[in-house]
């Protein structure tokens, strides 16, 4: 009984198509039930996230016919009038298994190597298993997919480092401070990116957040969201003595913090390290500040360069990950994965 996969993803379709074909979380058990009752499949798992909508299924008989039935079900369920030849892909073994392993390992994700998809895949499998929609074939294949994802995570660098500016800032903070739980963070300017960085720091245990903005109302609103405290923009320097990390993203046309202003503030801090993250354009913090002892200044380009480098490292690992996946898929399939014995797999559409 071969494993088949029909679906679409961010590689093949824009968000307007993906959202149209997404399965609502609450509707998934009913979809699985309908799939099995229609006699199209024997076992099925539905994975529906913001970047992909896929049905993994196992069924007996001819793979080509089975894929056509599954594709028909997919289109009919969403009342699609066209055939979606460019968007929809249909895979049989061994491509379907390799695809599942790639999805589980984050190799097929929009953010290469991200781990969120593994949790979503586990959750999708769990829904199907609890509903009795999986059997020996899917159980074995999905368990193997989770093992392959773990193997790839530990044996390669595909998931190493951060590829978002916010997480790079957190990583930098963790290279300076051994623990973030007793560190005070100050946000200057309540923009979206600074909010993301602040949230990332909070999620890693940062002690508390001070928010200062020209509009005090906006500062108060963000401080409330982050469970922090708002500070009047004219008073932020008074709080500086206790601050360890500053995230600055004001829309000021000039430097908010320069070397002349920072020097006395650093003396008051008695050599405690200070991480300055300047994500404003034009910049808020004079570059000269970085030349003061115990000050570490990073601007948006610095953070982006680190994120890009991490991404490049991940891309360099793709070939190795794919080799592991091919090996693991072949091991799962045994001799039948050999094209000379099977006649090769089926793959329709783009992927």
């Amino acid at each position: 009984m071969p494993l088949l996969c029909v679906g679409l993803s961010h590689h093949t379709s824009p968000v307007e198509v993906r959202e149209r074909f997404a399965f609502a979380e609450a509707a998934v058990p009913a979809v699985l039930q309908a799939l099995r009752e229609s006699g199209v499949v024997d076992e099925a798992v539905v994975l529906s996230t913001c970047n992909r909508v896929e049905i993994y299924a196992a069924m007996g008989g001819d793979a080509r016919l089975a894929l056509a039935s599954l594709r028909g079900f997919f289109l009919k369920h969403h009342n699609a009038t066209g055939t979606l030849d460019k968007e929809l892909y249909a895979l049989s073994e061994p491509q379907s298994i390799e695809h599942l392993f790639k999805v589980a390992s984050g190799l097929d994700s929009m953010v290469l190597g991200e781990t969120e998809i593994l949790g979503q895949l586990k959750s999708a499998y769990d829904v199907a298993r609890r509903g009795g929609h999986t059997g020996a074939r899917l159980n074995k294949t999905f368990q193997r997919a989770f093992n392959v994802a773990k193997h790839i995570r530990t044996e390669t660098s595909i998931q190493r480092g951060s590829v978002s500016v916010a997480n790079v800032a957190v990583e930098l903070a963790e290279k300076i401070f051994s623990a973030l739980h007793d560190r005070q963070v100050m946000v200057l300017g309540a923009g979206d990116t600074s909010e993301k960085v602040a949230r990332a720091l909070l999620s890693r245990g940062a002690h508390s957040i001070l928010v200062s903005n020209r509009s005090f109302d906006r500062a108060e609103a963000l401080a409330k969201e982050l469970a922090g405290r708002a500070v009047h923009f004219d008073d932020w320097a008074r709080e500086f003595e206790r601050v360890d990390i500053v995230i600055s993203s004001t829309s000021a046309p000039h430097y908010v913090l320069d070397r002349k202003k920072l020097e006395p503030l650093m003396r008051a801090r008695r050599n405690r390290p200070l991480l300055l993250v300047d994500i404003a354009v034009p910049r808020d913090i004079e570059p000269e500040c970085n030349f003061l002892d115990d000050v570490y200044l990073y601007n948006i380009d610095d953070l982006q360069a680190i994120a890009d480098d991490y991404l490049k490292q991940r891309q360099d690992e793709i070939a190795e990950c794919e080799r592991i996946i091919r090996e693991k898929a072949a091991a799962l399939l045994g001799p039948k994965s050999r094209p000379d014995l099977q006649g090769g797999g089926l793959a329709f559409g783009h992927k």
């Binding site: 790079v168 290279k175 300076i176 008695r270 050599n271 390290p273 970085n290 360069a305 480098d309």
Partner: protein
């Protein structure tokens, strides 16, 4: 009860049958320190991205040879091997490596070995120079054990300062990389700089306590000449004062940053470069 009182202790018997001399065992240890140093260059060039298990293993193997060398020397002369410059150097290096292996149980601190191995190799090669290890007299004066304890404590202290200096070098590398936005700063597996500074501070305190205890034992030693006019005693008091200042600095400001790390490295370099010279100038310690 059945063992003859005339039979030598088993450990001594075993070591006597080992075909290599203590100096040859130490030479093997120094060779491994050299290999570790070369491997450290590789780790540095790779940006400290890989766990330095190989380096840890190399230094652990070196410590085995190093320990055998010291044990052989100690058993053959029936005294603690801290009676000439060669032995004193062996003791300091042994302390550094043993303390490193202990701290290296924590993965991120294993990189300390990469910063310690160049010094271990250089000082080890220096210690092998024959004139540092003159043949012992027919009956070494053991001084009732106080001299051994005094020397051992002081040399252990220098070992702690040495490892602190390796930590200082590690801090300065990481601090420089962070300051100048080197990718290595973020990709390396080295610990955060404030944890490194904490470690350096603790090693200094341990070293300072050992040095103070070792120097205090001077009062128990047989007086052959005026102690305070001796060059080595004066030098030791200077070193003690320097490390007291460092400990107080660290205690007062909590974090000393780059300057503190430079001072820790510089202080140990001073100890390293003047230790042998003052020994040769000293009537009591020569």
């Amino acid at each position: 009860m059945g063992q003859s009182l005339l039979a030598p202790p088993p450990s001594r018997l075993q070591l006597d049958h080992v075909p290599l001399t203590d100096r040859q065992f130490f030479l093997l240890a120094v060779v491994l320190y050299g290999v570790s140093m070369v491997y450290s260059v590789f780790l540095f060039r790779r940006g400290f991205r890989e766990d330095s298990r190989v380096n840890y293993g190399l230094l652990a193997a070196a410590l085995v040879f190093h320990t055998i060398a010291m044990a052989k020397r100690g058993f053959s002369f029936e005294r603690c091997p801290v009676n000439n410059l060669f032995e004193a150097t062996l003791f300091i290096l042994w302390t550094i490596v043993a303390a490193y292996l202990l701290l290296g149980a924590w993965q991120r601190l294993r990189f300390l070995g990469a910063f310690a191995s160049p010094a271990l190799f250089a000082v080890g090669v220096f210690a092998l120079m024959p004139h540092l290890d003159p043949p012992p007299g027919p009956k070494p004066d053991f001084g009732g054990g106080w001299i051994s304890l005094h020397a051992a404590l002081v040399l252990l202290a220098y070992g702690a300062f040495g490892l602190g200096a390796a930590g200082g070098a590690m801090y300065l590398t990481q601090e420089h990389d962070l300051k100048y936005h080197k990718m290595r700063a973020i990709f390396s597996l080295m610990p955060p700089i404030d944890r490194m500074e904490l470690l350096i501070g603790k090693l200094l305190v341990v070293g300072f306590v050992l040095l103070t205890a070792g120097l205090a034992l001077t009062a128990k030693l047989p007086r052959q000449t005026a102690v305070f006019s001796d060059a080595k005693t004066q030098w030791s008091l200077l070193v003690w004062a320097v490390y007291l200042a460092l400990v107080l600095w660290r205690w007062r400001v909590t974090q000393g940053g780059r300057r503190f790390a430079w001072c820790v490295v510089g202080s140990f370099l001073f100890v390293l470069l003047t230790f042998w010279g003052t020994n040769l100038m000293s009537e009591l310690h020569r």
